[in-house]
Structures are given as structure tokens and as C-alpha cells.
Amino acid sequence: MKYYSLDSTFQFPWEQLAVAFWKRYPNPYSGHVLTEDIIHREVVGNRLFSKRLLTKTEACPKWAEAFMRRVHQVCILEESIVDLDTQTITTYTRNIGLQKYMTLEEKCVYSPSRENRQWSVCERQAWIISKVFGFASAIEQYSYKRFKKNSAKAMKGFVYVLMKLYTPEALASDHNLLNTGKLKKTARKAKELAKSKAEMATTQGNRPIFKYCVVAAVSVCVVLIIGKMGS
């Protein structure tokens, strides 16, 4: 099991963050999110309970898609509670499908910053667990690295939505946020790496390395898919 925790600060008040929370898709960093739906909603006292279902299959490299079709489609389920009394939004996100390869669960608590009441903080924790015999540790290690990167991207996406809603003038002048060139480069690199791995898989036939590639393919998909849920 790999555990990850990180606190992030948003320079926006909690109320604004709460409004943006429901408007965070699409954003320039959420290209992999295909669909977004609310499948449960209930108000109990001062708390709003919701379940948001996301599908993100396009995140899979082409070579991995063949394996993905054999199993069920991967979805991400985000449970959330917006609590007015404690001024918190708590989310718990997990993958639905492919759990036998890997589970990625993430919990985030958004609340006003103690440092500055006009800011908010997100305390994020994530657990990555693979039970694939012989490869669990490698998968977890790789997934952990990917998850860290994807979480940063998801955070940027959320900040983008906040800026668009509340400080559009700052957004217009922030070239860094709009510069997706670097992201494209990273995506291309990943694609090349995936391609070489796929070629390796076909040449290796039924050797253990092939099994590793199948499992890696599925794990890459799960990480790519769920990783963008962060922040």
C-alpha cells in the first residue's frame, strides 16, 4: 500500500471554492474527463450529500485499451458532503471497476485556512493498493509517482475554474496557466513509452513480462483515469 498526503492552499474564500467545486469540469487540464453526472443528492440538515460519477476512458494509451475493453469500463465515483456548520467539503473518491488490479482511494477535506480566512486549504490523502501477485509493489510505486503528477494537474484545473469565475482579469494575464505546450510534450513522451512497452509485450509472447505489461496497461489506465480526480 502506498500512502500519499499533501495540503494545498487556494487563495480563494471557502464559499467561492464551494461554488467552483460544482463547476470544475471541464477545464483545460481535464481533457480525460468524458462524462460527469450527479447520481445521488440529498440535503440533511445543513449538509449536502452528493455522488458524482465520472468516466474517463480516453485516458488510456491505445495499446492498453484492448485490455480495458475486456474488463468493465472504469468509472470514478466521488462522494461528497458539503457541511455548512463546519464549513467543510469532504470528498472521497474511488475507482469503480478494475479493483482486482488496483484501487485508488482519495480523501480531500476543503476548509477555510487558519492562516487567512479569505483563503481555503485542501488536505488530501490517497491510498494506492495493488494486489497483483508479484507486481503489486512495482505497480504501486509507479502509480504513486503518476498520481502525484496528476494531482498537481487537477489542482491547476480547479484553480483555473476559480480564476475564471472570480478573477478573470488575473487569468487573462497568467500565461503559465494557459500554456499547455509542456503538457502536450509530456503526453507525447508517455505515448512513446507506452508504444515501446507494447512492442516489447508482443515480442515477449507468453513470458512473465507479457503478464506484467497487461497488468501495467490496466494500472496505467486506472492511474490516468482516477489521478485527475485529485485536488
Binding site: Y3, A18, W22, D37, I38, I39, Q73, V82, L84, R94
Partner: protein, 79 residues
């Protein structure tokens, strides 16, 4: 954003517009009226069909983890 059900997109957007307005103008201000209930109902009917067609694991979707003992806990010592 698109909906998981191709035919649900319009219902989803109608509901979302209502919800976003209600969330910022009522809920966050402590008012609990629910003007979006009917829009949510029709949207959910559509979604339920789509979930069934796509063969998604309904039991897993309905299962609650947040706020239950199924939540993972932070490791007590090293990670």
C-alpha cells in the same frame, strides 16, 4: 460536460443550471428550499437507464464509503 447517457445531456444541463443557482443563492445562505427536485427526478430516470445499459456496477455505485468504517485511515507511523 457530457452525460454518461447520450440522451441525458439536456436534462443534466437543465438540472445543473438550477442546482448551481440554488447552491450559491440558497444553500450557502442557509435556505433549504429545493426548486430543482422535479428536474433532478427526470434527470435521474434517464441516468438510471444509461447506467443499466452500460452495465455499470450499481451495487458499487450505491455503496457508501465516505463517513463509514470502509474509509481508509492514515497510517499511524511511517507510510
Amino acid at each position: 460536460m457530457d452525460s454518461v447517457g447520450k440522451d441525458c445531456k439536456e436534462l443534466k444541463h437543465a438540472y445543473e443550471n438550477c442546482f448551481n443557482e440554488w447552491f450559491s443563492e440558497s444553500f450557502l445562505k442557509g435556505k433549504k428550499d429545493d426548486p430543482c427536485a422535479e428536474l433532478f427526478r427526470t434527470y435521474q430516470e434517464c441516468i438510471k437507464k444509461a447506467i443499466k445499459e452500460k452495465n455499470l456496477n450499481l451495487w458499487e455505485l450505491q455503496r457508501d464509503v465516505l463517513g463509514t468504517s470502509s474509509e481508509k485511515a492514515a497510517p499511524t507511523s511511517k507510510s
